[in-house]
Symmetry: C2
Subunit: 442 residues, 2 copies
């Protein structure tokens, strides 16, 4: 029986990499799932169902952030106009040594609030003190794949703590929380450590979320140190035998790409981060041609400055077209397929989200269509990609529950979160010589 109904909205569908819009539909939701999508008024709806007026709104699958470090919103805009090495070694990693469990909780809530405002219903997060992230996800109503980041120098004891987290939280909170293992990267671990991770992944039956080949130097250093690329190394130690979320992978070689087609791996891409830091862009069109799933991601707001996936969508197509000098690269339908289904698969949620259809989970973002940047509107999908911005998201539903309506957050007290963040900023941004969570090799 219908528990929630969105009445008379337009619905964005992306099928066979072609986007279309069905006007004037009712979306019926039963508990956490989409029950039916029907022409508006064609089915009578139970009196006690919650009803949302969707007139003028365009419904789409909730956006998915397939790689983030959400609590890094603390550092938004703090470290700018520096090199990647300075960014890590002089600022971010020293400051992250200040993190407490409670800091992570409040930072996660702030980031989730921003994501909900941007139409994002799912995040694949990679950070520390993940019990705290899980609590924030639980309260906020979002969906998440949580991976506790671990460096090689933390050894088996460090890894075991993340295993404990997985045992506690995997498939919990009405299925909204998945948990994967989170070894930081090949360059901050060892092959032996990664083999240990693989062993745990097998025991737990979970996937692995890891940074890989983010810069050209990382690939060259790996060839120097291990005789192979980071992707090849992941294959050799067995990581790729498990569902794997490869964050970045921008400097995958042609051989890496060929290799990845044989494994259950997906790639998360955060174009704004790569652009801002002058790192270089990934061969995204090649990934897609080979059938490797690609998802959109914000990375942390310390590098990306927002957690805005619609912005990443636009930057993805703009950056790829200019770097390939190809105006036909990533046509709108293919791009939206990446944003919705690609991101869902990459993030470990398969086909259960990323498409508004019967029996899928009810993760839905509704965007206003009456702004000037959406007028005229020959094609709502085109305007979504190229014109309007995330300020137009009006209503956000996750797992059949309303998280935002009329731009009002329903599950998070923004003022309280801002207060809590404010009183932590001074301590969080201190840098003490010699105190750092890791070292970035140059």
């Amino acid at each position: 029986m219908t528990t929630l109904a969105i009445l008379n909205c337009d619905v964005l569908k992306v099928e066979h990499k072609t986007a279309s819009v069905a006007a004037a539909q009712d979306i019926l939701i039963e508990k956490e799932k989409i029950e039916k999508i029907v022409p508006s008024g064609s089915i009578s709806i139970a009196d006690n169902a919650i009803k949302i007026d969707g007139h003028g709104l365009l419904a789409m699958p909730g956006l998915i952030n397939s790689h983030a470090h959400t609590p890094m919103v603390y550092f938004r805009g703090l470290v700018e106009d520096v090199t990647v090495e300075e960014w890590f070694n002089d600022y971010i990693w020293p400051m992250e040594s200040n993190l407490t469990e409670e800091d992570v909780y409040w930072g996660m809530l702030l980031g989730i609030a921003e994501m909900i405002e941007c139409g994002v219903t799912t995040v694949a997060d990679h950070y520390f003190y993940m019990d705290q992230e899980a609590e924030a996800v639980k309260e906020s109503g979002m969906r998440a794949n949580l991976a506790w980041a671990v460096f090689g120098h933390q050894g088996e004891k460090g890894l075991d703590r993340t295993v404990e987290f997985i045992r506690k939280w995997n498939n919990s909170v009405d299925g909204r929380i998945l948990t994967w293992l989170g070894p930081h990267a090949p360059y901050t671990t060892t092959p032996e450590f990664l083999k240990l991770v693989v062993k745990k992944a097998k025991e737990l039956g979970v996937g692995i979320h890891i940074h890989v080949s983010e810069t050209r130097d990382q690939v060259q250093n790996s060839i120097r140190d291990h005789g192979c690329t980071p992707v090849k190394l992941l294959q050799q130690v067995g990581v790729l035998d498990h569902p794997t979320l490869l964050a970045h992978c921008s400097f995958a070689t042609d051989e890496d790409i060929e290799l990845l087609t044989h494994y259950p791996a997906g790639i998360a891409q955060a174009p704004k981060t790569y652009m801002k830091h002058g790192v270089g862009l990934a061969p995204v069109v090649k990934f897609l041609k080979k059938g490797i799933p690609v998802g959109l991601a914000s990375d942390g707001a310390a590098s990306n400055n927002t957690l805005d996936i619609l912005e990443q969508l636009r930057l993805m197509v703009l950056s790829q077209r200019v770097s390939l000098t190809d105006p036909l690269a990533l046509p709108v339908g293919e791009l939206l397929d990446m944003a919705f289904r690609g991101s869902a698969r990459v993030s470990g949620f398969g086909d259960s989200i990323g498409d508004l259809k019967e029996n899928n989970l009810a993760d839905i973002a509704l965007i206003r269509q009456d702004g000037l940047q959406n007028f005229p509107c020959f094609n709502p999908a085109v305007n979504l990609v190229f014109s309007i911005n995330s300020s137009q998201f009006d209503t956000v539903i996750c797992n059949g529950k309303v998280l935002m309506q009329n731009r009002q957050l329903k599950t998070i007290n923004k003022d309280k979160v801002k207060q809590e963040i404010s009183k932590r900023l001074e301590r969080m941004t201190q840098r003490v010589k010699g105190k750092s969570i890791a070292f970035y090799p140059s």
Copy 2:
């Protein structure tokens, strides 16, 4: 005597390519000019002055769109996923043959409404039926440099019509309207025609706004046909002896750049257009190193999809950094200097706008600072460049007059404009075989 006062706002200053913010200031305006900027409350303000509560808002110079075809908002999002040649020859130029004077008037109003909502107070526009644009600028309260586009095949008669327009409108409407000559481009005119333009420019004492070297092919074709680059051709025919607004100029050679340093020319850059169409990026850092003024521009919304200059600002730095693989290119202060003072100079307004200081024209945009994407806010200038979007502009003032307050437009009836546009769309977008305003050579 103060006629308008903005009370207790923060003020963004960009000096010596460094951005800073003065908190809690009163901006006093006398008629069309900034009278004083003082710490809030330090001067008593005339009772009959209009007062705006600026608390929580960041004041900056009104943004400047240094090259647009504003009425092309009609075609927003209509022609996507095509090559540049198809875009011009199969769609845009055939459709523009449908334009009537009245179409231009309503299209200009729609575009101006969008620009005001995006904090833009000045536009350097290049289009047709410019009397109609001038009427729309007059009514809306914006500032503009208007150039009537003319192709070589229109001959002296076509040019004379644009001269007539200049005689009627130059320096009119309280000085808000400048008018320049608008030969379309070297590739759509002849050297003889351009010499005629130069003669008229000299007689009228006005500048010249022209497209140049937008693609690599245009440069190669010019070398083939004229034995020199388009920029060199402009020098040879005398265009560069006059104040010149070079739209795009993305494929300027090193010799072109050296040459431009000797002339009163500026360059307008619309990065989103170049990215979306896979055209390639300009050597912007080289331009700036050589002291050539560069401004931000949207081009037409048919290619750019918005008239949002804040979006162009962000895309400028992101696209340059990734193409140069240099995270230190275009630091925030230099970028804002380009956006404000660069755009002002390029657009023909010298130093009279683009900087909030005594005696400058009172063109001011105030942006909200309480959104989540602006929190935390270690540096408002950084967040302006990398985090927040144009939906946050709250109040816009041009020439001492309020054009938007609390996001409500004061001079334009949006509903009426949308109605007028809607009833024209079907006719405007018809394509009749053989009917086109020009032909784009491939």
